[in-house]
């Protein structure tokens, strides 16, 4: 289907984009890759009156090392992330997640900024940003501000962004030497995760550090903190299995046509074991 009518502007700078958004009324929206927004507009589930196309702001498309952090521009595509030498070297979790998003065509267009701003509980990158303790930088009419990933996601499709704010950069600490894994459970190729588990593991004599993220197990991406605590100090599969069982402490995950709450918990427990094993290998 064809989207409902809208006006379209293509600003040539960030400040122009922000002023277009703040003067554009309540139904003005930025568009980056368009791979979440256009499918919704084509089904007329979303009807913005003004699209501010930030896709041409090429200085927001980068991945660079910045001391012990990596800085990722909002317009870096999923494909950029999957191939970034800097990320593969110092924060391999992000490429590992990015290469599992959608299909190649989607990864050529979709951006990390759009994925994060959209705050879809089934999106793959948000849980990775939670386990990485990422910082999300946004610019609006009141200037820039930084929001922690853990505060950014507020509910299904709800984030801490104000309507006139543009997400510009995501900063993650380098995780040199940490093992990582993303286990995405889907029924068909190209599908969204029914459940996803993101693991970052540091090990020496047994597990010395653990961060476990959950995708599509609630209205926002979650950290499985009880699992993380139980993993530290464990060194054998029995210990990991006992830790994975603590995922039940997150409460009751949602039920939908793909999975009941019980099945989601079962999947999460199995996927945590697989993710930890892969991150350790």
């Amino acid at each position: 289907m064809i989207p409902a009518k809208f006006d379209y502007e293509r600003p040539s700078s960030l400040s122009e984009a922000i002023s277009l958004l703040s003067s554009g009324g309540p139904d003005a929206r930025p568009i980056a890759g368009g791979h979440s927004l256009l499918p919704l507009m084509r089904l007329r589930l979303s009807r913005p009156t003004l699209l501010v196309d930030i896709g041409g702001l090429s200085d927001l498309r980068y991945v660079r090392e910045d001391g012990d952090h990596l800085a990722i521009g909002a317009l870096a595509t999923h494909d950029d992330l999957a191939r970034s030498a800097e990320l593969l070297d110092r924060c391999a979790l992000i490429p590992c997640v990015a290469e599992q998003i959608g299909d190649p065509q989607v990864r050529h267009r979709g951006t990390i900024g759009g994925s994060v701003a959209h705050a879809d509980p089934a999106s793959d990158l948000p849980a990775a940003l939670m386990v990485l303790d990422a910082e999300i930088i946004a610019h609006g009419s009141n200037g820039p501000r930084t929001v922690l990933a853990t505060d950014f996601f507020q509910g299904p499709f709800m984030s801490a962004l104000e309507p006139d704010e543009i997400l510009t950069e995501i900063r993650v600490p380098a995780r040199d030497g940490w093992g990582s894994s993303y286990q995405k459970f889907q029924r068909r190729a190209q599908d969204w995760a029914i459940v996803g588990v993101t693991a970052l593991i540091e090990s020496g004599d047994g597990i010395t550090g653990a961060a476990i993220g959950l995708t599509n197990m609630g209205g926002t991406p979650l950290r499985a903190t009880a699992v993380e605590q139980a993993l530290v100090g464990s060194s054998d599969p029995d210990g990991v299995a006992a830790a994975a069982a603590k995922v039940a402490e997150i409460g009751t995950p949602p039920a939908d046509e793909n999975a009941s709450s019980e099945y989601r918990l079962h999947l999460a427990e199995v996927l945590i074991k697989r993710a930890v094993a892969e991150a350790l290998s």
């Binding site: 809208f6 256009l38 499918p39 084509r42 699209l51 065509q105 989607v106 050529h108 190209q190």
Partner: protein, 159 residues
């Protein structure tokens, strides 16, 4: 209406479009290149795949205004000097199609992928085509065609 200027298959096209015009409709209806098909409403099937600046995209999920200033290649632009592209020849030779509806999208996705990975394994080809659905073939001959094209292209560049 917004004025746009898009390079399609080497020709520059100037046009006025409504912002809501999808790239696939612009290509089919305004330029008359109907090789790019529309197979779904959900960005799932890949029948509309074209190259944008050399990389595969789904033309039903790009606005024509987003293609302003960019280069697009459609299936009509694959052949050069009357000679089929190696991928077109391979789909013909390996019979990588039945009804042919998915074929333009399959070929464009394959052309994009073989630039990234000129000598893929069978498994890699299957993954690379995960955004393209075929209702007819069971995919076997499509995968065979892409592998054949990869070999042919490697031979051509070696010879």
């Amino acid at each position: 209406m917004k004025p746009i200027s898009v390079n399609v298959n080497g020709f520059q096209h100037e046009a006025d479009v409504e912002p809501r015009t999808l790239l696939v409709h612009f290509l089919r209806e305004q330029i008359g290149l109907t090789g790019t098909n529309i197979g779904c409403d959900t960005s799932s099937c890949g029948a509309c795949t074209v190259l944008m600046n050399g990389r595969s995209v789904k033309a039903c999920t790009v606005l024509a205004v987003q293609a302003d200033g960019q280069s697009i290649t459609t299936v009509e632009g694959l052949a050069e000097n009357g000679e089929w592209h190696a991928v077109q020849r391979a789909f013909h030779e390996a019979h990588g199609l039945q009804c042919g509806f998915c074929t333009p999208g399959m070929m464009m996705a394959s052309v994009s992928y073989l630039k990234e990975n000129p000598s893929p394994s069978e498994g890699e080809v299957r993954l690379a085509l995960e955004g393209n659905l075929c209702r007819c073939t069971g995919y076997h001959n499509i995968v065979k065609a892409v592998l054949t094209a990869a070999e042919e292209m490697a031979d051509a560049s070696a010879g």
